[in-house]
């Protein structure tokens, strides 16, 4: 583990060193090719004057609301179409179709419906993650080994108990994978939507960097976005996923 960490630190040190070296050659002006130090300074001031903190909080608030709604709706729909054939044949095909549509493509529709508002952004975030969550739950339910259901029925489980005590736990690994994918789609959609909408989120800060010709800010915000994405994905979802897979005997 420590060996791996050393390698990682070394790699990034070399990368930053190369970057700094390249910047020192002054081939490009600083507003095109910033220095690591400049980016670090912007990062620090960004957190000091709280613009980054506000950006993070606003973006997090949006994604939590949007993603939360997605989970509620997606789980219900996914669990139902996984078990009810007619729904699968009808709603299921619609879900697959929408999944093929990049979620930012919903933005024009959202803008026409809601105007430049919070609701438009929420819609894009919801639609960005909804279909992954539905598909995760649906696949999980469809792949529950039939023998689990027969075993539960022979022990007297009724339809609702089958759902709560067998189907959902058995489908959990797949449901979690759907959540994980849904999260990363939601995060991407949110950033894309915020680029086009003035509203103090991280995407907006990124766009502001462009408008002010401030490359330091652009890179700094990009780093913040990457870090949030990685932290949530690796530290939260990957851990839950591994725990569940291990306990289910899938690992």
């Amino acid at each position: 583990m420590s060996k791996r960490l050393t390698k990682l630190i070394l790699f990034y040190l070399i990368l930053i060193g190369l970057w700094q070296g390249l910047a020192l050659l002054k081939i490009w002006p600083e507003y095109i090719f910033p220095t690591p130090l400049g980016v670090l300074k912007t990062l620090l001031t960004g957190f000091e004057d709280k613009t980054f903190i506000i950006g993070i909080l606003i973006s997090m608030k949006r994604i939590l609301i949007g993603y939360g709604l997605s989970i509620v709706v997606g789980l219900c729909v996914g669990l139902l179409i996984g078990r009810i054939k007619t729904l699968d044949e009808t709603v299921g095909s619609l879900v697959l179709g929408f999944q093929a549509l990049p979620s930012i493509c919903w933005l024009p529709l959202a803008l026409l419906w809601f105007g430049l508002s919070e609701s438009a952004i929420l819609l894009v975030v919801i639609l960005g993650s909804l279909f992954s969550i539905i598909i995760g739950a649906d696949t999980g339910v469809k792949n529950v080994p039939p023998i689990y259901i027969r075993a539960a029925r022979t022990m007297g489980a009724k339809e609702i108990q089958l759902y709560t005590k067998v189907i959902i736990p058995a489908a959990l690994p797949s449901i979690i994978s759907g959540f994980k994918q849904g999260w990363s789609f939601a995060w991407r959609s949110l950033m894309a939507a915020e680029l086009l909408y003035v509203g103090l989120g991280l995407g907006h800060l990124l766009m502001m960097g462009r408008e002010l010709n401030d490359m330091n800010q652009v890179i700094a915000v990009m780093i913040v976005i990457i870090i949030i994405g990685v932290v949530v994905d690796r530290l939260i979802f990957a851990r839950i996923e591994n725990k569940v897979r291990e306990r289910w005997g899938l690992a």
């Binding site: 023998i147 027969r150 539960a152 022979t154 022990m155 007297g156 489980a157 959990l172 289910w248």
Partner: protein, 362 residues
């Protein structure tokens, strides 16, 4: 003194038959026409369940042949005492108990892409309380289908299934299935798996725990595995848990669908032995499906042989070997051989032959 015992369980009762007060006394001395047996038959017909008839008779064939035959056919306890050419005949009327399980003219069709397939064709079976019945047959003969129908997990296309006089229309916890490996829930611990059915029944947690512990002990699972997850267990331990999970529901009938098929030989022998012990202690009614003739002979009171295409009962054998039976017992070996030879003769098509040979070799 002639003492006839028809059912082992009734010996105690039988001894006391002449000490109990008879409910009806008839004197048949001198009666030749009408035949004394007719009089006995008519009198017994009017008795209630468990009532005793005392008949005094001087007709030797009635006392020594006709009455015993009459009683044996119906399973009535009988005691005959001779005193100076006069016979005292005691007969207890026992109303026929309901068969534990009845399968009546059951057929099952499956629709596949190639058309309809008859999985079961007009099957009828009667299984009595406490019987251990083994159903053997090659794969695809519909034996597991029948088990599913009995369990109520599937519905017959034709015919009826009755459990203790009630028509089977769906799953019920009077009929619990032990499946082949892979039916335990991996997200629950061993203990939680065993408690699962009780939880559905809303049994209080303390009682649940006690019962689960009892049955895990019965199937001989070491206590240190109680908190393990399923994927941490060996195949044999998994099946122990599966049996405990079914038994804890205290079903009237235990349905077992090739529960030991995936186990290695040694583990299988151990579990077969333990299943016999469990059955001897609990006297549960067990319907055990297997493709292994030897296993069927080892375990069953009765072996029912299925043939495939379409699935039907080919033959039935009573296995009359003292318990506990061991797999290397010569009688088990002989019975296995007889049944295997019989099946071979009966199914002459070469494809069936290979199936049957396969069955016998396992």
């Amino acid at each position: 003194m002639i003492n006839l015992e028809h059912k082992s369980g009734q010996t105690e009762e039988l001894k006391k038959l002449d000490e109990l007060k008879p409910h009806k006394l008839i004197d048949l001395r001198g009666a030749v026409c009408p035949h004394p047996l007719n009089l006995i038959r008519d009198t017994v017909k009017n008795l209630k369940d468990r009532e005793i008839l005392q008949a005094v008779c001087d007709h030797e064939p009635t006392a020594k042949e006709n009455a015993p035959r009459f009683c044996k056919r119906r399973g009535y306890p009988l005691r005959v005492i001779e005193q100076n050419g006069v016979w005292q005949i005691f007969i207890q009327k026992i109303e026929k108990t309901q068969p534990r399980l009845q399968v009546v003219n059951v057929s099952k069709l499956f629709k596949t892409n190639y058309g309809k397939v008859t999985a079961l064709d007009n099957i009828s079976l009667t299984i009595q309380e406490g019987e251990f019945v083994c159903i053997v047959g090659p794969s695809g003969c519909g034996k597991s289908t029948l088990l599913n129908l009995i369990a109520g997990l599937d519905k017959p296309t034709q015919g009826e299934i009755w459990s203790n006089g009630n028509r089977v229309t769906g799953p019920g916890s009077d009929r619990v299935v032990v499946f082949q490996e892979g039916a335990l829930f991996p997200w629950l611990t061993v203990m939680q798996n065993v408690e699962f059915g009780l939880k559905l029944r809303k049994v209080a947690p303390e009682i649940r725990r006690t019962l689960a512990l009892d049955y895990l002990k019965l199937v001989g699972l070491d206590e240190k595995f109680h908190t393990s997850f399923i994927h941490q267990l060996s195949g044999g331990m998994k099946q122990r848990v599966a049996i405990a999970r079914a038994l804890v529901m205290e079903p009237a009938i235990l349905l077992m669908d090739e529960p030991f098929a995936a186990l290695d030989v040694y583990t299988r022998e151990t579990l077969q032995e333990e299943l016999q012990n469990i059955w001897t202690e609990s006297h549960k009614t067990i319907v055990f499906v297997t493709h292994n003739v030897q296993e069927a002979v080892l375990l069953g009171d009765r072996v029912i042989v299925f043939a495939s295409n379409p699935g039907q009962v080919k033959a039935e054998y009573e296995i009359d070997i003292a318990r506990p039976r061991k797999i290397d017992h010569p009688e088990v070996f002989l019975n296995t051989k007889w049944i295997t030879d019989d099946i071979k003769e009966e199914l002459e098509e070469p494809e069936h032959r290979t199936n049957v040979e396969e069955m016998a070799n396992r």
